[in-house]
């Protein structure tokens, strides 16, 4: 089953929402749900908290849609709302609850020994991320996972570009250190 037509652009959907077609907002939610969800899950470290942050962000974005100056860049604008929302979530949830945050690919289709290895690696990744300072984790995820440019990240976070580059560099160094520690345990 599929929808056999050209998808409307973000700008078009925003325009429709602004003229009263609330249903068009549903298309925007679907479009960005998983991508923004990935950031929220890795940043917050808890699936339920991440979903709540994501839900709040979408609702907040709808209510302040008039302040989206460039509808063509709705995604980036939405990111900014989510980044701020994730900051207020607070400390990461108990690690025990993160055991099953991973996507199904990490745990499917492998032999038992491989599966145990994947679980160990995934757990090591989660723990390493959790040990990063929030501003380092934020910068690292936005740059290397979400593929944003430094000037975009600067706009979202309010930090200067050189400060962001330093945070990303520190994050890489620390992650390398934590992962190596995990390998030698």
């Amino acid at each position: 089953m599929g929808i056999d037509k050209v998808e409307p652009s973000d700008a078009e959907l925003v325009r429709r929402v602004r003229t009263g077609d609330i249903g068009a907002y549903g298309a925007l939610v679907s479009r960005y749900r998983d991508r923004l969800g990935r950031y929220a899950v890795h940043m917050i470290g808890d699936r339920e908290d991440a979903e709540e942050a994501l839900q709040d962000s979408f609702v907040r974005a709808y209510r302040s849609l008039a302040r989206c100056d460039d509808p063509a860049r709705f995604g980036a604008w939405l990111y900014g709302i989510l980044v701020n929302r994730c900051r207020t979530t607070g400390a990461r949830a108990a690690r025990r609850r993160r055991l099953f945050v991973h996507d199904a690919q990490a745990l499917s289709g492998a032999a038992h020994a491989d599966q145990a290895d994947r679980l160990d690696w995934t757990d090591a990744v989660d723990r390493a991320l959790a040990r990063l300072a929030p501003e380092y984790r934020e910068a690292f995820l936005l740059k290397h996972v979400e593929d944003l440019e430094y000037d975009e990240i600067s706009e979202l976070t309010g930090a200067g570009v050189s400060a962001l580059k330093m945070r990303v560099k520190r994050a890489r160094e620390q992650l390398q250190k934590y992962l190596r520690e995990a390998e030698h345990v």
Partner: protein, 163 residues
């Protein structure tokens, strides 16, 4: 710039870039919250269908949540949703309506089929009947495992007082 020792970090990055599937029911929760804020007068029934359209989501998704709880009654109003853009008709059929497809035809907007029912406490088997011939279980609800008639069904349970 690739440096020795960066391999581990690159492997971590590739791992983190894997898609993460969020709960597809989140779309409906967002739309419902927006609808509640948008209505000029807060309504419980019926749901404005233009808002019920979470749209652009392929496949079947259920939201069966208590839409509102009447403080003086033990019954709950539950909303049932099926996304089926290609369907010409969808009925909700189950223990609550004598398995009569004519009793709860669902309304559609943008391929989203929905209806709401008030249910007394109990456990109900149900399914969606699409185009009068195809039985579909609700992918977002628990499955009714004792499927004696060869077609899929789902279950919804409404708690009693104090739930």
């Amino acid at each position: 710039m690739f440096e020795p020792g960066d391999e581990t970090v690159e492997r971590l990055i590739q791992h983190l870039r894997r898609p993460v599937a969020m709960d597809a029911g989140l779309d409906a929760r967002v739309m419902r919250e927006i609808a509640q804020a948008s209505s000029p007068r807060r309504r419980v029934w019926p749901l404005p269908w233009s808002v019920a359209a979470a749209a652009a989501v392929l496949g079947a998704v259920l939201v069966a949540r208590p839409w509102a709880r009447n403080a003086t009654s033990r019954a709950d109003t539950l909303q049932f949703v099926l996304i089926a853009p290609q369907a010409a008709s969808v009925s909700l059929v189950g223990d609550f309506n004598d398995w009569d497809p004519a009793r709860s035809p669902m309304q559609t907007a943008h391929g989203i089929w929905a209806t709401a029912l008030r249910l007394a406490p109990g456990r109900y088997r149900y399914a969606f009947l699409v185009n009068g011939v195809e039985w579909r279980a609700d992918p977002g609800a628990p499955a009714a495992k004792d499927d004696e008639f060869g077609t899929p069904s789902s279950v919804v349970t409404v708690g009693g007082r104090g739930s």
